[in-house]
């Protein structure tokens, strides 16, 4: 894929061969396997996959917040601004968390400490990473609240006095309080009402630009990806199976799983009785299929698929796919297209 020299220059985040497992008494859960992912400065990466695909584990891995035990980061590198986060000490990591990489969590109802006023929860973040007094930090916390659209008078309120959407705004205020270079949003709107979802997304989009941050947006909603992301990584059973520019991916999804995902989005234009679904279920992460983990559910599968683990292939410039069959087909169609001209 991309060589290391280029990483040092252009990329904010470069994850290489990351493997994370949960070791339990009943077996080893292969949550993330040989994951590779790149994120440029100012980019927004959509991280798409079903529940259990390993998206949140990857995010927590970047933060080095995998609960351990049972979580173990087996191998790989997470290069952030050129330095490997996995080699940092716990104290060094604390200086990264919040200040350089901040996270927005899925459920705003439970993400805030119920016995602490929201201004204190924001100020805690500011006090940790900036040399300001308590009073200044609280004042800045009020500014942050106003920035996310909450009146300053409410800064001394407790989380239970806010609605779900407001709480998520508070969580966003905490995440952005120290102007992080990278924002990881783990399904930030899943727990919210649809109308509130749009508002929160709009807010995140605006603030991301205002703060000039890069963002990883974890979601299973392809509509959200289309709206805010620049690039998309599709994750299946702990691996990235397709990684491309948003437009390229939406115009021409290559991996059979991605195609399945797009087909399962209802299209009102088409008059169809039933929604196309991907046959079968996500494999048990304790017992993954051999070779390509998607082969049991794949209509394109050949004899080769259960045998060899597919590598990422650059099927078109900047469009990577972990499926030799489809990559070859893409190459074929392109060369045919070339002949026709």
């Amino acid at each position: 894929m991309t060589d290391t020299k280029e990483n040092a220059k252009g990329l904010l985040l470069d994850i290489q061969d990351l493997t994370i497992q949960y070791v339990t008494d009943s077996g080893t859960v292969h949550a993330v396997e040989n994951l590779n992912l790149q994120l440029g400065h100012g980019e927004t990466l959509g991280f798409v996959g079903e529940t259990g695909a390993g998206k949140t584990t990857t995010a927590l891995g970047i933060m080095r917040l995998i609960p351990s035990p049972p979580g173990v980061i087996r191998s790989g590198k997470i290069l952030f601004e050129g330095a490997d986060l996995l080699k940092k000490s716990e104290a060094e990591m604390r200086a990264v968390r919040g200040a350089k990489i901040a996270m927005i969590f899925q459920d705003p109802m439970t993400s805030l400490n119920p016995v602490m006023t929201v201004d204190k929860q924001i100020a805690e973040m500011i006090r940790l990473h900036r040399s300001v007094t308590d009073a200044e930090a609280l004042n800045l916390a009020g500014d942050m609240l106003e920035l996310v659209g909450i009146r300053r008078e409410r800064m001394h309120d407790y989380p239970h006095q806010f609605s779900g959407g407001m709480k998520q705004r508070v969580v966003i205020a905490i995440a952005l309080a120290c102007d992080p270079g990278l924002l990881i949003a783990d399904e930030p709107t899943t727990a919210l009402d649809v109308t509130i979802q749009a508002q929160v997304l709009e807010l995140m989009k605006k603030l991301k630009q205002q703060f000039d941050a890069s963002m990883i947006l974890i979601t299973h909603d392809l509509g959200i990806v289309a709206e805010i992301c620049d690039r998309v990584a599709i994750m299946y059973a702990g691996r990235v199976v397709e990684y491309a520019d948003k437009h390229a991916l939406y115009r021409r999804p290559l991996h059979p799983y991605t195609i399945g995902l797009f087909n399962s989005v209802p299209d009102l234009e088409e008059d169809k009785e039933e929604l196309a679904v991907i046959p079968g279920l996500m494999p048990d992460p304790m017992d993954l299929p051999t070779g390509c983990t998607f082969h049991p559910r794949c209509s394109f599968a050949t004899e080769e698929c259960p045998v060899t683990k597919p590598d990422m292939i650059e099927a078109a410039p900047g469009h990577f796919v972990a499926c030799p069959v489809r990559a070859a087909a893409q190459a074929g169609s392109e060369s045919r297209g070339g002949e026709g001209q």
């Binding site: 990591m93 968390r97 400490n113």
Partner: protein, 309 residues
């Protein structure tokens, strides 16, 4: 908040009348005539009749009960001891300080030992410390207080001769009874703290605190502990109420002149007014402690406070 307190105090009234009624009925139905007990076998029928009239024991049940409540409410008079002839309230107040001291000592021991053990157990879940603590907690919870008390006396007083086995005047004399009385509370507080802490440590807001770059020690001791202690505080309050009310066995074993022992002796002597007064007193103490715990609860949990408005 003040309205809540007033409402809670008003709620106490029916509770106390109910308690008084139950005790009154129970003793009324118990076989054995207080007049005969107090005046002795040699007393004449006339003397017994006279005693009954004088003590108001000749009226119908409800009249007797009504009188009792009336006097208690208007004059704070809950009767006189048949035996010592002193007002019941005075009798109880003489012995209450000993019980209060014993219970306070026991709950302080229980909190000082129970909470840290529970927290450490949770932080080091499945470690040797955790396993040992849980074993001790199980033993402490299952061991009857009279048995533990006797063992303590046997070992520390009789065998080692370190501490006195009875009396309650010196600090040294208080050690054994307090330890015996606190054993169950230590165990319960340990277990509750541990499970509450384990639950809280997995909460999303703890992850949020970590994701801010906060130190693990602050995450545990500030964010987790405050939340984990909410149910523990309730338990401590309830335990303190129990200790105040339930030190009977401990007081008997260690010969401590407390409310519990007074009640046991009064039951033996059929000194009804003391028994009634004692139970009522215990009920009031328990309710007041409970009220205080609820107010404390509002103080440490803003969500509860919001409900009180």
């Amino acid at each position: 908040m003040i309205r809540y307190v007033i409402r809670r105090i008003l709620f106490l009234i029916p509770v106390l009348i109910g308690v008084a009624f139950c005790v009154f009925t129970l003793l009324y139905l118990t076989p054995g005539d207080p007049a005969r007990m107090i005046l002795g076998d040699m007393a004449t029928e006339e003397a017994i009749r006279e005693f009954r009239v004088k003590e108001g024991l000749d009226g119908p049940f409800l009249v007797q009960f009504g009188n009792y409540i009336y006097k208690a409410v208007t004059r704070g008079d809950i009767g006189r001891s048949y035996v010592t002839k002193r007002p019941v309230l005075d009798e109880i107040m003489t012995v209450f300080p000993a019980t209060l001291k014993l219970s306070a000592f026991a709950i302080i021991i229980a909190i000082i030992i129970g909470m840290p053990c529970g927290i450490l157990s949770a932080i080091k879940q499945y470690s040797i410390f955790d396993t040992l603590t849980m074993i001790f907690a199980m033993v402490g919870l299952s061991m009857p207080v009279f048995w533990l008390g006797l063992l303590l006396i046997l070992y520390f007083s009789v065998h080692l001769r370190w501490l006195p086995s009875s009396g309650f005047d010196t600090f040294r004399a208080m050690i054994l009874p307090s330890v015996a009385l606190s054993a169950q509370s230590i165990s319960m507080i340990t277990r509750m703290t541990r499970s509450s802490m384990l639950e809280v440590v997995r909460a999303d807001y703890i992850r949020t605190a970590r994701s801010k770059g906060q130190k693990e020690s602050v995450v545990i001791w500030v964010h987790a502990l405050h939340n984990a202690l909410i149910p523990v505080v309730t338990l401590c309050g309830l335990q303190f109420g129990h200790l105040l009310a339930g030190a009977i066995l401990t007081e008997s074993i260690f010969a401590i002149p407390g409310v519990g022992r007074l009640m046991v002796e009064s039951i033996k002597a059929r000194d009804y007014p003391i028994v009634q007064g004692g139970v009522l007193f215990v009920a009031i103490t328990f309710s007041v402690v409970n009220l205080l715990v609820d107010l404390l609860y509002a103080y440490i949990d803003p969500r509860i406070k919001a409900q009180y408005k």
